[in-house]
Amino acid sequence: MRATVSDLPLVLDGVSLQAGATTILDRLSLSITPGAPTLIVGPNGSGKTSLLRLLMGLTAPTAGRVSWGGRSESKPVRRAILFQRPVMLRRTAAANVAYALAQAGTPRSERAVRVAALLERVGLFDLAQRPARRLSGGEQQRLALARALARDPEILLLDEPTASLDPAATRGVEEIVLMAAQSGIKIVMASHDLGQVRRLAGEVMFMVRGCLRERAPTAAFLDHPTTPEAAAFLRGDLVI
């Protein structure tokens, strides 16, 4: 079943998102295809989180059209999302992963093996029986990653997953993300950390005030931004 359905390319066609009089996303048209990780950068409030929610299908656009592999129904079959502050279900780490596997339709008989493999993959094997809510922030993010990977996604959306983590925990999360990317999962990740962009990104989407201002390969974006806003952002100026 999974092999026959694909969510890629993920296409936005003239998509806008309004909340009352406020424009959150403004006429975005873009296409996401398999390949190296895409990092969405931009100042706070530029619409990164809203864009990710739209890509996931959690929010419907007020104008324009979103399609996954040519389909406009939004059932999240082969995509997963990692929220900035993921919700830990009140059960053990292993049970959190088992829950995600069950929701993804993994047969009961295969779950135990896959739980162990996923926990191993995110480095939480030894904490399998620990209640998820008593894990540290970095461990919780890694557990959420294991849950996301349990869906066997084709595209993985991440919303600043390391925003509140220390460098060691950040490295743990980035390693898992890179491994996922190498295994062929399309990564779309919001970040405000230019170092992280350098370490992970294949291409960059730069957003300001709900508009996509620039989209370029990482090196080109970092070295030769084509818009004054991007140049200012890269200099560390406040972009309003």
Partner: protein, 230 residues
Amino acid sequence: MSDQLSAWQLILTGDAALFAIVWLSLAVSLSAVALAALIGMPLGALVALTRFPGRSVLVVLLNAMMGLPPVVVGLAVYLLLSRSGPLGSMGILFTPTAMIIAQTILIVPIIAALTRQTIEDLWAEYRDELTAMDVSQAGRIATLLWDARFSLLTALLAGFGRAAAEVGAVMIVGGNIDGFTRTMTTAVALETSKGNLPLAMGLGLVLVAIVLAINAAAWGTRVWSERQAS
């Protein structure tokens, strides 16, 4: 129970009739809580998760029904179960089963209303995550109920407190039959009407002690299991 004895003497001497009354009270009220939980928790969770016309009316109604007068519920169940009523052929009026039914009706709104509030708050936190995992409606309800289990214990205790304390409904549908449908509360009412105020007060204190013990046990269980798997 001999009227000459005080409640404390009855306890100390292990009076069989007193223990039968305590057992019946607990059996009836705990059964009613269990049944009401089976009905009220999924109902409360369903109301928390769904949006439909008239929903706020239902929410207000559920909250208001937490204050259902026990005698009114008792009377309604009595009329239903009476031989002259629609369910009379079941022949369960004046039995513990009838008392369980009446108390269940009495506490379903309490458990449903408190569950709705708890689940609605938790749903605000879980909505994105569960939607992203494509969890079905039934799955959402089960997940939220399970993850709210420690908070929902409070709803169960509120229901139990109400069931154990009420006298109006069990008196009407049970009939306060000695050795068969006499509970702690109807025994207190009876001893009061016999002018046996010390014994009535003593029985009342026994009831309070039992309710206190059950709440303490539930609280202890909650603290212990939260430590095990929060």
